[in-house]
C-alpha cells in the first residue's frame, strides 16, 4: 500500500490546485488521515477511486464529528510598566478557537484489498446551515450515510441527489448529534438527562 505522503504527492499532481494535508493521529491505531479542502474534494475522491494503483473503490464509513468552540489558554508575553520599569511578564490569555464540523470518509480498496485511507473535510464554523460537497456521485455508499450526517449534524451536502432527513421526521428542527443539542424537557425527568445537560 502506498503511504500517505505518496498519495498526497500523487493527488497534488493530479489535482494541482487542491489543498491537501496530513492530519496525524497519536493513538495506537495509527490511522492518519488526509484533510481535503471542500472545493476539490470530489475531484480528489474521483482520482483516488480511479487511479489504478490506489484504487480506493469502496467508501466504508461516512460520519460527522462536531468540534465545539474551545478555549485555549495561551501564555502571551506582555510588556508592563511597573514603577517606571519595563518588565516582560507572561500572562495567560484565554483564546477562543472556533469550532467546526468535520466529515470523515473511510476509504478502502476492494480490488487491491488495502486500506483504509481516511479523508476529512471541515466546515468553517458551526452555523446551523453549513455546506460541504457530497461524495455520493463518486461513492454511492455515501448516499444514506451523508443523509444521516445531514440529519444528525446539520451539514448540507451539495450535489447529493436526495438531501432529506434520514432518521428523524421531516418537521424536526434540531440536529441532535451536535454537542450543544439537548433533548426537550421531559415531563418526568430522569437522572441521566440531568447529567448530560451541558452546564451553561
Amino acid at each position: 500500500m502506498l503511504d500517505l505522503e505518496t498519495i498526497i504527492k500523487r493527488v497534488q499532481e493530479a489535482v494541482p490546485s487542491c489543498r491537501i494535508e496530513l492530519v496525524s493521529n497519536e493513538s495506537h491505531s495509527g490511522h492518519h488521515s488526509l484533510l481535503v479542502d471542500d472545493g476539490h474534494a470530489v475531484e480528489v475522491a474521483r482520482f483516488l477511486r480511479d487511479a489504478p494503483d490506489i484504487c480506493l473503490d469502496y467508501a466504508s464509513n461516512v460520519t460527522g464529528i462536531d468540534w465545539l468552540n474551545s478555549t485555549v489558554k495561551e501564555k502571551v508575553p506582555v510588556t508592563e510598566t511597573v514603577e517606571g520599569e519595563e518588565k516582560v511578564n507572561e500572562k495567560t490569555v484565554e483564546k477562543t478557537v472556533p469550532g467546526y464540523l468535520e466529515v470523515v470518509y473511510h476509504l478502502y480498496s476492494m480490488r487491491l484489498k488495502q486500506g483504509p485511507v481516511i479523508l476529512r473535510m471541515r466546515t468553517g464554523n458551526r452555523d446551523p446551515d453549513v455546506h460541504l460537497p457530497s461524495l455520493t456521485p463518486v461513492y454511492r455508499s455515501a448516499e444514506l450515510q451523508e443523509r444521516e450526517v445531514y440529519d444528525l449534524f446539520g451539514i448540507v451536502f451539495d450535489g447529493h441527489p436526495d438531501m432529506r432527513r434520514l432518521l428523524m421526521w421531516e418537521e424536526f428542527e434540531d440536529h441532535p448529534m451536535r454537542k450543544d443539542y439537548f433533548p426537550p424537557e421531559e415531563s418526568d425527568e430522569s437522572p441521566i438527562d440531568e447529567q448530560a445537560r451541558p452546564k451553561q
Binding site: L167, M168, W169, P183, P184, S187, D188, D193
Partner: protein, 206 residues
C-alpha cells in the same frame, strides 16, 4: 357476585352446573387471544421465538398472528417505541377492534429501558395507550412472555362486564380510541396522553 358463586357451588354439589354468560364470554375471549403481527425491536425476536417449537405459544391458542389490526385482539408492544413510531403505534391501537388488550413487552416498551435517555425514545408506551400487562426484561425470555399472556388470560377471566369496576371495553365512558400524537418541531405533541397517564409529580405513576 359472591352469593352467585355460593349458589353455583351448592348447585354443583347436586350435579347442576350453572354457567353465567359472563363466564362463557370471558372464557371465549381469554382463550383466543390473537396477537397483532407487529414487531418493534429486539423483543420481537423473542416474541417470534415464543411461537417456535420450544416454547410454542400455540398451545394457548395464540399462535395466529394477524398482520391486520382489525383481526387482532392483543397488541404486543415488543421493543423500543421511538417518537417517530409512537403515532403509528397509537393508530394501530385505534384500528384494533374491541375487546383489545395491550402487552408491553420489555424494558423499552415499559419505560424506555436502556434507551430512556435518548431524544427520540418514548419513555413507556403507557404514556399514550392503556397497557393491560407489563412483561419486564431486556428482552424478556419467551417463558416470560408466555407467563404474561397466561396472566392476561387470568385477568380477562376475572373481568366483569357490568357493575362497578367493569372491563374497559364494556365501559361506555372509557374511550376506545386515543389521540394520536403529532410530530412537532422538537418533540411529540403532546408529550403524553393526559387521559391515561400522569407524571409522578402530578400524582400519577405506574
Amino acid at each position: 357476585m359472591t352469593e352467585d358463586k355460593q349458589l353455583q357451588d351448592e348447585l354443583a354439589l347436586y350435579g347442576v352446573h350453572l354457567t353465567l354468560l359472563e363466564q362463557v364470554y370471558n372464557w371465549g375471549r381469554s382463550n383466543s387471544l390473537w396477537p397483532l403481527q407487529f414487531g418493534l425491536a429486539c423483543c420481537a425476536i423473542e416474541m417470534i421465538a415464543s411461537v417456535t417449537a420450544r416454547y410454542d405459544l400455540g398451545r394457548f391458542g395464540s399462535e395466529i398472528f394477524r398482520p391486520s389490526p382489525r383481526q387482532a385482539d392483543l397488541m404486543i408492544v415488543s421493543g423500543t417505541v421511538t417518537k417517530k413510531m409512537a403515532p403509528q403505534v397509537v393508530r394501530l391501537y385505534n384500528q384494533m377492534a374491541e375487546p383489545k388488550y395491550v402487552l408491553a413487552m420489555g424494558a423499552c416498551a415499559i419505560s424506555g429501558g436502556p434507551f430512556k435517555g435518548g431524544y427520540n425514545v418514548v419513555k413507556g408506551i403507557d404514556r399514550y395507550i392503556p397497557v393491560d400487562i407489563f412483561v419486564p426484561g431486556c428482552p424478556p425470555r419467551p417463558e416470560a412472555l408466555l407467563n404474561g399472556i397466561i396472566h392476561l388470560q387470568e385477568t380477562i377471566r376475572r373481568q366483569k362486564l357490568s357493575g362497578p369496576g367493569k372491563a374497559r371495553h364494556a365501559d361506555r365512558d372509557q374511550p376506545s380510541e386515543y389521540a394520536i400524537p403529532e410530530e412537532g418541531g422538537r418533540d411529540l405533541v403532546p408529550q403524553y396522553n393526559a387521559e391515561t397517564w400522569r407524571p409522578s409529580w402530578q400524582g400519577g405513576g405506574k
